[in-house]
């Protein structure tokens, strides 16, 4: 019986997946055999998302501030919400600064097209590594190589092939809704592991004003919420993107994600290894700034 149920379950899932795929491709056309599922993809909502993405791609220099709330789920299911302010300035394609104001873990990211610096103003620790030539590549490298999430990464990916509307299994237009006094249209989307809502500004500047992401793979369903304030004409100089170490700054390593674990640690007890300048992993390119100091 149990096996029977799972076979049935698999069939239902397969049917739904097929219907969802058709729905995405086939816009609002209702398929007679699976009409209910197909109707959950509202092509207007998809279009709004793509229009916003296209518009975001036209922005060369912008500043976006946000209050970000995010939740962690403790082992016993209790949720912990933390809130921080994030101030991001970007100059496409290769300048970015992100200031994360957080009582417990304040950080600033500097990217000047050549190197990336992570700065911790409380402890005065910083780490600098070589960086790829564009913001989009940097964002991927930070995620994959250094396990660092760049806030608002979606702002750089919407409107590019990295944002794939075909992954959406549901899309709905909820109607008008104001964020900070600005009239927006609220949309609901659903994809594997995530339910999300976005408020897109009405009119000729289709900017995201609010984003709520619900992670559905954990039963506590932790949420991540950002409310954005935009400045499309910030005055910034190149200096804003380059890190200059204050006199009391202390340089430390940024550990590569794949270097974590035993292989690396086993080397540590050897004293000579500790005496290497800056104790950097050998494969990591040297940072010119460290030689200046």
């Amino acid at each position: 019986m149990k096996r029977m149920r799972s076979v049935l379950g698999a069939t239902v899932i397969a049917t739904m997946a097929g219907a969802a795929a058709m729905g995405t491709a086939g816009a609002q056309k209702t398929d007679s055999s699976s009409g209910r599922v197909a109707a959950k993809i509202d092509q207007d909502a998809i279009n709004a998302l793509e229009k916003m993405g296209t518009y975001l791609r036209t922005l060369k220099t912008f500043q976006v501030n946000a209050t970000v709330s995010t939740e962690d789920v403790l082992d016993d299911g209790q949720k912990v919400q933390s809130t921080k302010r994030v101030d991001l300035v970007a100059q496409r394609p290769n300048r970015m600064r992100v200031e994360i104001s957080d009582e417990r873990q304040p950080r600033t990211f500097y990217y000047d097209g050549k190197s990336f610096t992570l700065w911790a103003p409380t402890t005065r620790f910083y780490a600098t590594v070589d960086a790829p030539p564009t913001i989009n590549e940097l964002v991927n490298q930070l995620d994959e190589k250094y396990d660092i999430d760049v806030p608002f990464v979606d702002l750089f990916r919407w409107g590019t092939p990295e944002s794939d509307v075909h992954e959406l299994t549901s899309a709905m237009d909820m109607g008008p809704s104001a964020i900070d006094g600005v009239t927006c249209e609220q949309y609901l989307f659903r994809q594997d592991g995530l339910d999300w809502q976005i408020w897109i500004q009405n009119g000729e500047f289709p900017l995201p004003r609010k984003l709520v992401i619900t992670t559905t793979t954990d039963e506590a369903r932790p949420q991540h919420e950002s409310v954005y304030t935009w400045n499309l004409a910030p005055s910034v100089s190149d200096d804003a993107f380059a890190f200059t170490a204050p006199p009391d700054a202390k340089k430390i390593n940024l550990v590569e994600a794949q270097a974590k674990g035993l292989a690396k640690l086993e080397k540590q007890p050897e004293k000579p290894a500790e005496k290497q300048p800056a104790a950097k992993p050998p494969q990591e390119p040297r940072n010119p700034r460290s030689e200046d100091r």
Binding site: V73, L74, R104, Q105, T123, D149, I213, T215, K250, E274
Partner: protein
């Protein structure tokens, strides 16, 4: 007298930092409600909200970032503790400040740690290679051959960034 007291506190704190991995292990099931989570407070997360709709989660749909995959700091075989998992929201500790309760970082188990320190001072030395998420603010930072180290009594740490979180690896005296 004051100096003696200060040393006592320093030793207690060093011990406290040293036994933190072990505490971390035991804390696993309970979260952090056992002791006011100030400064470096936290608990242990089984999941975190995904911050992006366009980034592909590591390990497919069962994305469970905070707890198991890439961010797990497993120093087990080195430190003797099984697994040290990333706490939720580890706070920074400014090691160059004078002792300040607000930035304790180390010890939300402070009363326990202090009591234990009295009897276990000699026995509990931090294992080289083990990692902690915070050290006492009374530690002193030193640069040795261009690298930053923290000296906390007789224990030396090398700070590093794991993701955006600062971790401190116990090392031999450089």
């Amino acid at each position: 007298m004051r100096k003696l007291l200060a040393q006592g506190v320093l030793v207690a704190l060093a011990i406290c930092a040293a036994i933190e991995p072990a505490l971390a292990q035991r804390r696993g099931g309970g979260g952090f409600r056992g002791g006011g989570a100030r400064g470096g407070g936290g608990g242990f997360a089984r999941a975190s909200a995904r911050p992006s709709v366009t980034m592909r989660p590591a390990g497919g749909a069962n994305f469970n970032r905070a707890s198991y995959n890439r961010t797990t700091v497993n120093r087990g075989a080195v430190s003797g503790a099984a697994v040290v998992r990333r706490p939720v929201r580890t706070g920074d500790v400014n090691i160059d400040r004078d002792w300040d309760d607000r930035y304790s970082g180390c010890c939300y188990y402070r009363p326990v740690a202090r009591a234990a320190a009295v009897g276990a001072a000699a026995a509990t030395a931090a294992a080289v290679g083990s990692a902690v998420y915070s050290v006492p603010s009374s530690c002193v930072s030193t640069e040795v051959n261009g690298a930053t180290y923290l000296q906390c009594g007789s224990t030396w740490y090398r700070p590093e960034f794991n993701g955006t979180t600062t971790t401190y690896i116990v090392v031999s005296q450089p």
